[in-house]
């Protein structure tokens, strides 16, 4: 168990290191930020001064070394564009992302769990088939496309909902729907398979042998057990939602960390891009680590391994 945890933490640290390395060099391939930061018609000398100011004139590996040194002290650097510490910027955007992810999660569970249960209870009937089509659509339709359709219908055609920005409850509806769509399908699929497994269990058979009404068998004996893996997945997905909302936040101009990343890329604001990618990656890696360790604690086959 100890060995497992140590090894698992080692892998996590290694993944983070690789991620930081990759994003550091990749972001520098996107072009020269000085061109975007300087006044229009700036001279070569002006550009050189800007590069020098941000340390971009030094050799790449020296830049990486300085970056990593600061990172270990918890300093992500300053934004080229806003000239404020990136971490502050990130933390000011995070609540918006959490709100959006929370709303998308509620939506995905409200859709995914009941449809998954119906599909399992009516397995291989037409309800189940509709569910399968829905799951396929949910998993394959890109979120920007769903987002644009929503805007076209509810903002442009019906004029019911604001197409962009944040502030009121109305603003969160469409982005939450666009972001939650994929996860609703994923949660439905897992609810269905988990429910099917539980419905075939001996304790459900015994519940039926007792003469309990079928509704009670499903709502009490099957549902609670089937929910455990779904809620585990939902916990992981919540963290993922915070960090993969780039496209949705951009389409709806939602001021979260996803949009911050998009802005960072458009302005070649290297510190912003590095910070959002590394922090997002770290969140996902940590959540996976915690879940793996929790599973190991539950599963004696892993727990007892030395």
């Amino acid at each position: 168990m100890k060995k497992f945890v140590v090894r698992r933490i080692g892998y996590s640290v290694l993944s983070l290191l690789l991620l930081s390395l990759t994003i550091f060099f990749f972001v520098r391939v996107t072009g020269d930020p000085a061109v975007l930061l300087a006044e229009p018609g700036a001279s070569a000398e002006d550009l050189r001064i800007i590069r020098e100011q941000f340390g971009l004139d030094r050799p790449l590996w020296i830049q990486y070394g300085a970056f990593m040194e600061n990172l270990l002290k918890g300093d992500f650097g300053k934004s080229f564009y806003y000239r404020t510490p990136v971490l502050e910027l990130y933390l000011s955007r995070l609540p918006h992302s959490l709100l959006l992810a929370g709303a998308a999660m509620v939506f995905s569970l409200l859709i995914g769990i009941p449809t998954g249960i119906i599909a399992a209870v009516r397995v291989n009937r037409w309800w189940d088939s509709i569910g399968k089509v829905f799951a396929l659509l949910g998993l394959s339709l890109p979120s920007f496309w769903v987002g644009l359709l929503l805007i076209l219908f509810f903002s442009v055609y019906l004029e019911w909902l604001p197409s962009s920005g944040a502030g009121t409850a109305w603003h969160v509806i469409m982005p939450a729907f666009a972001l939650g769509w994929y996860f609703a399908a994923a949660h439905m699929r897992l609810t269905r398979s988990s429910m099917l497994e539980v419905l075939g269990s001996e304790y459900v058979k015994l519940a039926r042998l007792k003469g309990l009404p079928e509704a009670l068998v499903i709502a009490k004996h099957a549902f609670k057990n089937a929910l455990i893996p779904v809620l585990t997945l939902a916990g992981i997905n919540l963290v993922i939602m915070v960090n993969v909302a780039v496209v949705v936040e951009t389409v709806f101009a939602w001021p979260g960390v996803g949009r911050l990343l998009f802005e960072g890329i458009s302005f070649r604001d290297f510190p912003v891009v590095q910070a959002t990618v590394i922090l997002g990656g770290a969140m996902i890696i940590v959540v996976n680590l915690v879940v793996d360790i929790l599973y190991a604690v539950i599963d004696p086959r892993i727990r007892l391994e030395r």
Binding site: Y203, L209, G211, P213
Partner: protein
């Protein structure tokens, strides 16, 4: 003679797989009669259709299975024409069943007290408090110590033997007329097994239960049952009083089963020592299904399936060796 408690007539339960192209005749023309208070043992190798038969009586089959023919009469009522709601009121109330695996048959997320009280609440409309009180009594009657503490515990806090007794308490909670026990002791170790069988006998006496005891252990049958039905490939190949079966088995399969009981510890006999493979019920041999493994096989066995022929007082078998009726 009074009306039997249970009459099963030419019951057929098939599994349909592969969109109906694969048919497994798990129960294929079974007839049984059971008088009130009697104990019937159903024996046979694994896969002979015992569980399918038991579940058919309660009409609680897996989705792939369907009862395609026959009749089941319980206390004079035809169970096959009952609605789902009527069947539900029979299950757990008038016919109860004990499943094989005590570890898996209790729900891990609810307390033992809750699970024992459930049938009482559903069938008798008892309120929570009264049902709790009955649950404590039931646990006491299956010899669980400190029931007032145990009712609040969860299944994982108890041993396998205790869980099996809790499943027993659930089965008798509404005073059923008929109790079906499907290999109730297979997963228990030997001393616990013996204790549990003793408990079942005591419950049977106290509640005047009629018992169907499904097992592949002939030693248990000899101790527990008044009558035996031997199943092979979905059919009852021999049936009769326990003594007659053990003294003068008529069917070669039954004889092989009895010979396979280890002589020293009768209670241990497992049906594994018969030569040849158990048949695949999805592709049964023509004629007598036992003929590929039968030491006495002759020409007619390969062509025609034997009918049930009398072999003594209330004793019959499906074998061509018996003289025609």
């Amino acid at each position: 003679m009074t009306r039997p408690l249970l009459e099963v007539e030419d019951l057929r339960t098939y599994y349909f797989g592969d969109r109906g192209r694969r048919v497994t005749k798990a129960v294929d023309g079974v007839s049984l009669t059971l008088a009130a208070g009697e104990t019937l043992g159903i024996v046979g190798e694994s896969g002979s259709g015992k569980t399918t038969l038991a579940l058919s009586l309660l009409r609680l089959l897996p989705p792939a299975a369907r009862i395609v023919g026959g009749a089941i009469r319980f206390e004079g009522e035809d169970l096959l024409t009952k609605s789902d709601g009527e069947m539900r009121r029979i299950r757990g109330k008038r016919i109860a069943m004990i499943l094989q695996d005590p570890m898996a048959s209790l729900n891990p997320l609810f307390t033992v007290g809750d699970q024992v009280a459930e049938p009482i609440r559903v069938h008798e409309g008892a309120d929570r408090r009264a049902a709790r009180e009955r649950a404590r009594e039931l646990l006491r009657s299956v010899k669980i110590a400190a029931p007032e503490l145990r009712v609040r515990e969860y299944p994982h806090q108890m041993s396998g033997g205790m869980r099996q007794r809790i499943v027993g308490a659930i089965a008798i909670s509404c005073d059923p007329r008929l109790l079906i026990a499907d290999e109730p002791t297979t997963s228990l170790d030997l001393t616990i097994q013996a204790q549990y069988l003793g408990l079942l006998r005591e419950l049977q006496r106290r509640h005047r239960l009629t018992l169907i005891f499904v097992t592949h252990n002939l030693g248990i049958v000899a101790r527990m049952c008044d009558r035996v039905a031997v199943m092979y490939a979905g059919r009852v190949v021999e049936t009769g009083p326990t003594k007659a079966i053990f003294d003068a088995a008529a069917h070669p399969y039954t004889k092989a089963l009895i010979e396979s009981i280890p002589k020293l510890s009768g209670a241990r006999g497992r049906l594994t020592a018969i030569d040849g493979q158990p048949p695949d019920p999805a592709a049964l041999p023509a004629g007598c299904a036992f003929h590929p493994r039968c030491p006495k096989v002759f020409e007619r066995c390969r062509q025609e399936a034997p009918p049930e022929l009398p072999a003594g007082e209330a004793h019959a078998a499906r074998c061509w060796l018996l003289p025609p009726a």
